[in-house]
């Protein structure tokens, strides 16, 4: 009897110690472990040179590239630019000539030193024409063809990473991780009709100038079906997973911790250039008036999207609320009735090609056709992979997704115009928000682009993931994330700069 009591006491004591240890671990950063991440993109390029502006795949690439490469500067959540590879910077009064001093002693993941020449090569590639990048003592100088007061915003976002191309074409970075393993998607051995998704394994860079990341590895699985990703989160096979907007409600109902960014993706319609002729002005105006954006955002996307009236989102421009896209079916029908002969949408249907991949965009394309029909406009939807979507068939209208990737509204609008409308650089004074607003209003009034909805980025984050501090513009900052140790009873002493534990909850105790 006495023996049994002692055993009980010992067991309870052990449990209390384990619980205390677990509580302490929950409060104190923990080094080690593998962070399992699932992204919706089926393939990703970590080479910023390959990223098409505004593409969804570039966004996934940028998210992972920030594990491997660094930028000259970063922007924190309090509107302050923070030094990264550049420790100091200065510019002339006009904002045309900039100088950046590079941090000394920074090494690439292969141990070689970062030099100004590396920064010159990568910055020249990412900034492109209109910028001349040269090396100066301990740094780089950037001379622009016109004033760029928003250069820091540009350098802190998009593809402006510093890297060194290797002879084999791959790139070296100075970031907190390096690529340890990359496995392409392939047929499964057991069932060759099933495809094993691509995986990329990132390993902690012990010598990272910014400090070793907390986790040892980040294992990224690409392109699994959205429902499968949700399930993986629930059963613990994923720590962080992107969630499709139409599954967010389900995730919330099932108690998942769901993070969302500011709206990052614009879904919109673009008229083909051939339809930009004055004769089709009425067609474009009629379709614009027929679109029911509120239903798209609130019903189709279950309130997980916002109706879009502008090209740039409010969080980026600050003035998007000035734009309105009132639905007016009556006026749309009147315009339709007055169509000149030969305009698509009347006798012959207007072909709408869905350029963006995924079921969500198919649904949106079909919804556009429904709205058009209500105004007596004939729209034929050409879905990706369907029989009627032959590249030989010209489409008068495209449904596309544009992913914002710059923190400079001027640079973003410029990239948008160049990529989608074949336009030129915006005038230099476009950093004045009133000028930028006027330019955007002019573009919208042309009705070549009809914004539909804005989508935030959603991710499910398991409770074992700590210090999740993603930026509102979608930088996940995974190097700062740490995980609970799997089993508090068997926690091993981590290697590297393990911190003293146990009392972070108590501000007076040892740190």
């Amino acid at each position: 009897m006495r023996f049994t009591k002692l055993r009980w006491l010992a067991a309870i004591s052990a449990a209390v110690v384990a619980l205390a240890a677990f509580a302490a671990q929950a409060a104190t950063p923990h080094y080690g472990g593998t962070l399992h991440v699932k992204l919706r993109a089926s393939s990703v390029s970590l080479d910023p040179r390959e990223w098409a502006p505004g593409s969804l795949s570039a966004a996934a690439g940028e998210k992972l590239a920030s594990l491997v490469y660094d930028r000259l500067v970063t922007l924190d959540d309090h509107a302050k630019f923070q030094s990264a590879l550049a420790t100091e910077w200065s510019h002339d009064a006009a904002g045309r000539n900039w100088q950046f001093k590079l941090r000394s002693g920074v090494r690439f993941s292969d141990g070689s030193l970062l030099t100004p020449a590396d920064a010159v090569v990568s910055m020249q590639i990412s900034l492109g024409k209109g910028f001349e990048v040269t090396s100066v003592e301990n740094g780089v100088a950037i001379r622009a063809a016109h004033p760029v007061p928003d250069l820091l915003e540009q350098l802190a976002s998009g593809r402006n990473f510093v890297f060194r191309p290797k002879p084999d074409g791959t790139l070296l970075g100075t970031g907190p991780f390096f690529v340890a393993e990359s496995v392409a998607a392939a047929p499964a051995e057991a069932n060759p009709t099933a495809i094993k998704p691509a995986k990329i394994k990132f390993q902690a860079n012990e010598g990272a100038w910014s400090g070793r990341p907390f986790v040892d590895f980040v294992e990224v699985t690409l392109g699994e079906p959205p429902l499968r990703q949700l399930l993986d989160l629930q059963v613990g096979k994923a720590d962080i997973a992107e969630i499709a907007p139409d599954l967010v409600r389900k995730g919330r109902q099932e108690g998942l911790r769901i993070w969302n960014s500011s709206p990052q993706t614009l879904v919109a319609l673009r008229f083909d250039e051939a339809l930009a002729a004055p004769a089709s002005d009425q067609l474009r105006e009629a379709l614009w008036l027929a679109l029911d954006r509120d239903t798209m955002a609130n019903v189709l996307l279950q309130r997980e999207a916002q109706p879009a009236d502008s090209l740039l989102p409010q969080w980026l421009s600050g003035y998007a609320f000035l734009f309105e896209s009132p639905m007016n079916l009556q006026r749309a029908r009147e315009l339709r009735a007055a169509f000149p002969a030969g305009v698509p949408g009347a006798a012959q249907p207007l072909r709408l090609r869905v350029d963006a991949p995924g079921d969500l965009f198919k649904l949106m394309g079909e919804r556009v056709a429904v709205n058009a029909r209500q105004a007596n406009l004939a729209v034929q939807v050409m879905l990706p992979g369907s029989a009627n979507n032959s590249p030989a068939l010209a489409a008068g209208l495209h449904l596309f997704a544009w992913r914002y990737d710059s923190l400079s509204p001027r640079a973003e609008l410029e990239a948008f115009v160049k990529q989608l409308l074949g336009g030129a650089d915006l005038p230099a004074n476009m950093t004045d928000p009133e000028q930028l607003f006027a330019q955007e209003r002019r573009l919208l009034e042309e009705r070549r682009i009809l914004p539909l909805v804005l989508l935030p980025e959603y991710a499910g984050v398991r409770a074992n993931v700590h210090n999740w501090n993603a930026s509102p513009w979608g930088d996940w900052r995974l190097a700062d994330v740490w995980l609970d140790s799997e089993d508090p009873m068997t926690t091993k002493a981590p290697t590297g700069p393990q911190k003293n534990s146990s009392t972070a909850r108590n501000p007076g105790a040892r740190p």
Binding site: L75, S83, S317, L322, P511
Partner: protein, 354 residues
């Protein structure tokens, strides 16, 4: 040439130039100390920020006053950014109203008067002010923007506290620890900062002016994502406790930094002594996540957390350290303000009664 991280951008960069190893020579340290004393004062952002706020309001008022055909009385309708506190919103609208009136724009509260809408919105780097009104049959819009980093930090709402609490220093740089200077001649604080991926000790006088700055980069010390350390001062000797390492130097000869590898002797938990009945009270903070506001709990020693006798004080972000070594009834608490991103040092004092 404007210096980017300096006056153009924000205060922190002025004082956060990295010190390379050769700057550990005394002559360089003296120059750093002098420049730091000139440029680094506590809460300098507010002074410049008020001017920036006024100048921005002036620019908006000038643009609005220049709208052709705009005359008569106007009803100003203010639409602040949804994330702003009431105090922040009021600070802006007061300045805007002043500047509008200064330019003879006649403002009224009458419901029938034409409306002048003024909107404020924050972007990642700017505050964008938009004025919109209707003149004859057309909409007139005027927009201006100001870098958020140039504006004063938002005022924190006053927490309902029963402790005496006073913010005595703030910095955009990460403050790891702080200690009071006991020496009556010197006064002020000593701080341990993690600035630009380096450890720096600062001596700050009672007015918040940085008097001396010493770069600490012990051999084999590496930058960390979770930097930790404690600073103590005895006379003019400063000791710095780091994980697995203890260092000492004197403000008089800071180049003689001596470090030795040894098990860290971290500070014991913070106890405050009540000035009323000499009873001991223990400090706890509740948060474990770095992105959440923290509540400081002061509970009678020997009782559990969340006891009914607890004195609570909400901080504007996570509490990072506390140090009650130098005064039995008060302690220094370092917290991060999640709204501004700045690190703030509070002196908390246990007081009797309400």
């Amino acid at each position: 040439m404007r210096s980017g991280g300096a006056s153009v951008q924000f205060f922190g960069k002025t004082c956060s130039k990295p010190f390379s190893k050769n700057l550990l020579f005394p002559w360089a340290l003296i120059s750093i100390a002098v420049s730091a004393a000139i440029c680094c004062v506590s809460r300098p952002v507010a002074a410049d920020g008020d001017a920036a706020l006024r100048e921005t309001s002036q620019r908006l008022a000038e643009r609005v006053a220049g709208i052709p055909g705009l005359h008569g009385t106007l009803r100003l309708e203010w639409h602040p950014d949804a994330t702003w506190s009431e105090g922040e919103s009021e600070r802006w609208i007061e300045k805007i109203r002043d500047e509008f009136e200064r330019r003879a724009l006649d403002l009224t509260g009458e419901a029938g008067a034409p409306v002048l809408d003024v909107f404020a919105a924050e972007t990642p780097t700017q505050v964008v002010l938009t004025a919109k009104t209707r003149v004859s049959d057309r909409d007139e819009v005027r927009i201006i923007a100001i870098a958020r980093a140039l504006l004063p930090p938002a005022a924190s709402p006053a927490a309902p506290i029963r402790l005496e609490r006073q913010m005595i220093y703030e910095s955009p740089n990460r403050i790891l620890d702080a200690a009071s200077v006991e020496n009556a001649d010197m006064g002020g604080l000593v701080l341990l900062l993690y600035r630009n991926y380096e450890l720096v000790a600062l001596r700050v006088d009672a007015r918040g002016v940085v008097k001396q700055s010493v770069s600490l980069n012990p051999v084999n010390w590496k930058p960390s994502r979770d930097p930790r350390g404690e600073i103590r001062m005895r006379g003019t000797v400063v000791s710095v406790e780091l994980p697995g390492k203890s260092c000492e130097f004197s403000w008089e000869s800071p180049a003689d930094l001596k470090c030795r590898a040894e098990k860290s002797l971290w500070r014991a938990e913070t106890l405050l002594t009540s000035p009323c009945d000499r009873s001991d009270w223990k400090l706890f903070s509740s948060g474990s996540e770095p992105n959440a506001k923290d509540v400081l709990q002061v509970v009678p020693d020997g009782t559990l957390r969340e006891s009914s006798a607890a004195v609570l004080s909400e901080f504007p972000g996570p509490i990072l350290s506390s140090n009650g070594e130098q005064d039995p009834s008060s302690a220094l608490v370092v917290a991060r303000n999640l709204r501004t991103g700045n690190y703030e040092i509070y002196e908390i004092t246990l007081a009797c009664g309400n």
